[in-house]
Subunit: 332 residues, 2 copies
């Protein structure tokens, strides 16, 4: 019987149940291997003592922390929110916990967060941002599974689950050309992914499109608030574009607001293309044409990889292409 206020340990439970602590541990982690009667006594003892296992000790002893690091740039207006929510749900359901890191757009912060993730001995690190050689080196040193999402790098470090941003750019170009647009305006954020989409768009547009696109560069990430300046710049162009391609649905929403506020009809006077299929895309007026990325699918693939890794499978570096889907709505 414990009589101080220190939280009960496995030994306290074992003593009450009249078994060894090893058996209690087995009951907790692998119930089917312990005898029925024993199980009942242990269950009662756990209940009676109010035992909550110490996951620090468990992780140290078993060399599996059941903790997964999720590293994202921001929370607000993030393209990844849906994917992340799905992932956190799946992880929690499967008995893992999530360590959240906010990287901003700095590689330095990303590196620091990966170091502390490694210090926590997380089983896996899920990363959305770009990585440097130094980061790759750090990751290699640890034994955590490194998972990049929304990305298909040329040389995957661990496993990458994403899609081709260049293809997405291409598809958007083809789609807009097929709708008869001739004067596209590209708003590109400074990150590598947006850059890839831009390249894909320009390549394809050169093949299928009319005039060369005009462009605005904004800081990453593409947000609602960038629309004011971007729209103002667009208006100063010698000829007004007939469609604007945005790096996120939030930015697209902002452009719609700006356009309407300036008395333009969307899509009549200006069409707007979004990206990411955020919740608001389908709810805006007009609804926003966009590119859907299957966050639930990505979350499932991530979970599958983590579980294999936790079960001891060696995971070869590879890319998993989950594709994307262009959704035509009212804004284009």
């Amino acid at each position: 019987m414990k009589d101080d206020d220190r939280p009960p340990t496995l030994d306290d439970v074992a003593e009450r149940a009249g078994v060894s602590s090893a058996t209690v541990s087995r009951f907790l982690n692998n119930p089917q291997v312990v005898a029925k009667g024993t199980s009942d006594r242990i269950r009662e003892a756990v209940e009676f003592t109010g035992y909550i296992p110490n996951a620090l000790a468990g992780g140290l002893a078993s060399n599996r922390s059941r903790m997964v690091a999720v590293l994202i740039p921001h929370l607000e207006q993030s393209l990844f929110n849906d994917t992340i929510e799905n992932m956190v749900d799946e992880l929690t359901t499967s008995g893992n916990n999530v360590m959240l890191g906010l990287t901003g757009t700095s590689l330095g912060r990303t590196k620091d967060l990966i170091r502390t993730s490694l210090a926590r001995r997380v089983d896996a690190i899920i990363c959305t941002g770009p990585v440097s050689d130094e980061i790759v080196e750090t990751v290699r040193r640890g034994k955590a599974l490194f998972i990049q999402i929304w990305e298909l790098p040329e040389h995957p470090v661990g496993i990458a689950i994403g899609f081709s941003h260049q293809d997405a750019g291409r598809d958007i170009a083809r789609f807009l050309a097929s709708r008869g647009y001739t004067r596209p305006h590209l708003i590109t954020a400074e990150g590598p992914r947006a850059h890839l989409r831009r390249v894909g768009f320009l390549q394809e547009w050169e093949a299928v499109g009319a005039e060369a696109p005009t462009e605005t560069l904004i800081e990453v990430p593409s947000r609602f608030g960038h629309a004011r300046r971007a729209f103002a710049e667009m208006r100063r162009l010698p000829r007004m574009p007939d469609v604007v391609i945005c790096g996120s649905d939030h930015l697209a929403q902002g452009m719609i607001v700006e356009a309407q506020s300036a008395g333009l009809k969307v899509p009549g006077n200006l069409a707007v293309m979004g990206f990411g299929n955020s919740a608001i895309a389908g709810e805006m007026r007009p609804t926003i044409s966009t590119v859907d990325v299957d966050g639930a699918r990505i979350a499932r693939e991530v979970m599958a990889a983590i579980i294999r890794h936790q079960d001891g499978d060696e995971i070869q570096p590879c890319n998993v292409d989950v594709g994307f889907r262009l959704i035509a709505r009212e804004s284009v």
Copy 2:
């Protein structure tokens, strides 16, 4: 010298530096107590071995995990995003890591997440949602500091940092009355906080306002997507309200979009009041009048409490009122 691929331990570093592992540990946690020459040798050894401390072992031995649980309902369009981003930044900077839990609106999930937080031996639990007696009981059992934010409960369990939602509702009523509005329409989400604001609004409106408000109930949380139905319901009212009070800026944004799409001027034909001062509130057209909550301030108060707790101070249950600020912009 280690020759296998197991990550280097404190002993590996100690051996290389020619000191005991205790000294290395001191150097890592309390550099000023070890001699200059020794420090240099240890620094070199850490560098050479690529040592990354095992925080699981450290936490177990020291009984301080330097991990803090943050429990929020959602990621997408969350009122707390700004507060949370500030908090995660402060926590990370001060050497703590964040365990993220997504509670949804279910008390059951909240309880489960609190249990696993306790299992991880987090130093503190930051919670935004409502809590049940069972949760309070669970929390009492652990030694983690329990912090509620955006909330000032009658009987705080640990420390609560927030503001009076009822006062906010009152201030909104007074503000709208002072602007000459006479037919308010309240959109209230089903959560306890929105309910308190509603009560405050109704009380004050009865004193200063004209007609009794009309109302719509929506599910929690208040989101952009709720606007369609809410607006449609409003339109069916015998007399159209002249101002609509929303539980979040996102919902307010949605109402503006709906109103404009129906040919109404905002605020000319319909004024719109938001809540939370999200980034978009100041960027929308028209800009959204709202209630600002100082997320950075809340984050600082939270950090201060956590640091005191980690330093061993006994923290008495109490409420910290950080207040709020009504911001008048174009939409009202």
